[in-house]
Amino acid sequence: MTTATDIAEAQLKMPVQREPDVERRLLHRTLKPLVGTPVNAFVTLACLWVLWLGVKGAYGWLVTRAITEGGAQACKVGNGACWPFYEAKLRFMIFGVYPYDEHWRVALAMVLFLGAIGVTMIPRFWNRNLFVLWGTTIVATAILIWGGVFGLPYVPTTQWSGLPLSFLLSAVGLAFGFPLGVVLALARSSKLPAIRVIAIVFIEVIRGVPLISILFMASVMLPLFMPSGMTVDKLLRAQIAIIIFAAAYIAEAVRGGLQAIPRGQHEASSAMGLHYWQSMRLVVLPQALKVAIPPLVNISIGFFQDTTLVTIIGLLDFLSTVRTAMTDPNWVGIAVMEGYVFAAVVFLIFSYAMGAYSRFLERRMRLGHD
């Protein structure tokens, strides 16, 4: 019996007719978009020129004009990349004012954290064991960074800085912002008017003002709202601001996911005798969150970049330690490009990786039916 698939397979198996001038065609196909029309040829030339300028500039700065030895003075004279600056300041730029002898602890914590993220990103490992993994990772990183037990000296939060602080702020912000955001999204799509209004006001107010204003509020106003004698750590205050901000944006992403779930799912789960929380937990949310994963990853990228704003309220995040390194009396005004390029490359690598992962997820979701 001949079915449609059989026909398709037969067609696939048919030998492809090789045309005699296949090579000429290939050449034609590559060249046509580049020089097909005079305008296109001009565009190609202009692009080549821009690329050439960029490559030449970067190569000259990084390699031919680079200053590989000597101190700050050598760099002041030359105008290439100043490697001695990186040599002298790399550890400070990454770890900031964390005690020098204890750098290995934060480094190890970062490796654990990034490793856990790496494992989490692989769909094959999406099961209950992840909770165990994250539980262990969180405890281990907390012990490593905080210290005070197992003979590790205690490090106060005022000395937490650099790249680990940026990771910490965005990771904790998203970890706590996520459940809060889910609750807000549920509240916003609730049938109870008072709860819906509260959620709408909260979400829209937070989304309508810049992050800086919330950071300011946390750093200037929050102490006024605390009862007398109670002080809140500066880092914790910034963290609370970031959590609240993240929650409002996550809520909107999750709401998008909730809206994508057809009514029938709610009705079917009610018909099965599940009450609200059961139907949400077992039926609706698992589907809605899956739809919301790509926008959530995009939000995460944004938040990783937005943590740089804590510089403005005086926390030493990665961008801030890089800037501090640049304004060191020995190097001030010498390594401006070096510092910013380094910071930009670090951000570029992590953000691009996350963006690529988000695109992978979107592709996977479009293909898979699981």
Binding site: P193, F225, Q305, L319, S351
Partner: protein, 390 residues
């Protein structure tokens, strides 16, 4: 569902009662939290002897604002200083939005170019801007302007009479008088008239089916008011052109390094997002639409204008709104490089008066209000281009 309010345990299972209970609990806990925070605040303020209320707005500010579009001196009030901040925020946001939209449009189309090199360059541009924090770029542009550019004495003349130096960009400018305002208003009037005439002509054409040459009439409606206004008020149309003197530039108007860095930073990073929006908008219009338009005999430009663009806009407008909104909110990063926007002026005010709550309340309200205005305008525009389902 059996409603039985007589028994206490049954009551808990009554859906309507539960709904009310939950809402009362939610509202009640928020009110209690608010009261608790309020009592803490008033106690703290009393302890620290901080005044409350908005009375300080009418007191003398006493600080200098490096640039302002409206008249401002340190002897003016705090209220006026905050107004200057608002105007500065809006000013930089408007120019950044315009610049970002233009660049974003070109880059978005370039990403779809059939020329692989151009598409690749556009891709590099977008990724480089999207994956690095805006704050870093702001610091970088500012540092490049201040340390990388020559002093005023050796200012680069990048275009005739446009000078770039470490004290910013100097451009030719008009000496603005009330006559210019009248002409501007006349131009706006001309725009309105032109639109009306054009609409009438189109309606007429559709009604009668006759194609008449109506564009001279439209052009006339566009420019007649402005020409009349020029003839009537006789304004001074000479430009103030910057000239390089021995030590400084004279004439023209100066864009400070802070403004230039903020403008460039905001516009470039928003343009990357807009490019992606434009790209996905154009991609969302199916190939069949192009082919159908061609089959109807439309030329390429008419196809773009009448068939593709209206459909692409429908996809483009909502995300474009949110990217304008985030650009507007990101303008608050001005404080990092010292452009006197709303946040920076409020911050100075808070430091001087100690009235943090009022200061933050003012700028949050202003941002919220302006955000709502922008989204209302964009929603109105969206409803015009949205799919009309009949």
């Amino acid at each position: 569902m059996r409603v039985d309010a007589s028994s206490g345990t049954r009551l808990l299972y009554n859906l309507r009662f539960r709904a009310i209970l939950y809402q009362v609990l939610a509202v009640g806990s928020i009110v209690l939290l608010g009261l608790y925070l309020f009592s803490n605040v008033s106690q703290k303020l009393a302890e620290q002897n901080i005044a409350t209320g908005f009375g300080y707005l009418s007191r003398e500010a006493g600080f200098v604002i490096s640039q302002s579009l409206i008249d401002y001196k340190p002897t003016h009030t705090y209220g006026r200083a905050i107004l200057v901040g608002i105007v500065n925020t809006v000013w930089v946001s408007i120019w950044s939005v315009v610049l970002a939209t233009v660049i974003g449009l070109f880059v978005g189309i370039a990403r779809l170019s059939r020329n692989p090199l151009l598409a690749f360059l556009a891709f590099l541009y977008v990724e480089a801007l999207r994956n690095v924090p805006l704050l870093l770029y702001l610091f970088l542009w500012y540092a490049l302007i201040v340390t990388g550019l020559p002093a005023v004495r050796e200012a680069w003349e990048i275009l005739p009479h446009v000078f770039l130096s470490n004290s910013g960009l100097t451009v030719p400018s008009l000496v603005w008088t009330s006559a210019h305002t009248i002409i501007l208003l006349a131009l706006v009037l001309g725009g309105v008239l032109g639109t009306i005439v054009h609409r009438r002509a189109t309606a007429e054409r559709i009604r009668t089916g006759k194609v008449r040459m109506t564009w001279p009439l439209v052009v006339l409606a566009l420019f007649l008011p402005a020409v009349l206004a020029i003839l009537v008020v006789q304004p001074d149309l000479t430009l103030s052109i910057p000239e390089k003197g021995r030590f400084r530039l004279t004439g023209g108007s100066q864009l400070t390094p802070e403004f230039t860095a903020l403008l460039v930073g905001l516009a470039l990073s928003a343009s990357a997002g807009i490019a992606e929006i434009v790209r996905s908008g154009i991609l969302s219009v199916r190939k069949g639409q192009w082919e159908a338009a061609r089959a109807l005999g439309l030329r390429d430009r008419s196809t773009m204008r009448l068939v593709v663009l209206p459909q692409a806009l429908r996809v483009i407008i909502p995300p474009l709104t949110s990217s304008y909104l985030s650009l507007f909110k990101n303008s608050s990063l001005a404080i990092a490089i010292g452009y006197p926007d709303l946040v920076m002026v409020s911050n100075t005010t808070m430091n001087q008066t100690g009235q943090a709550i009022e200061g933050i309340a003012i700028f949050m309200l202003v941002y919220l209000g302006l955000s709502i205005m922008i989204s209302m305008f964009m929603n109105w525009y969206n409803s015009r281009v949205a799919l009309k389902e009949r």
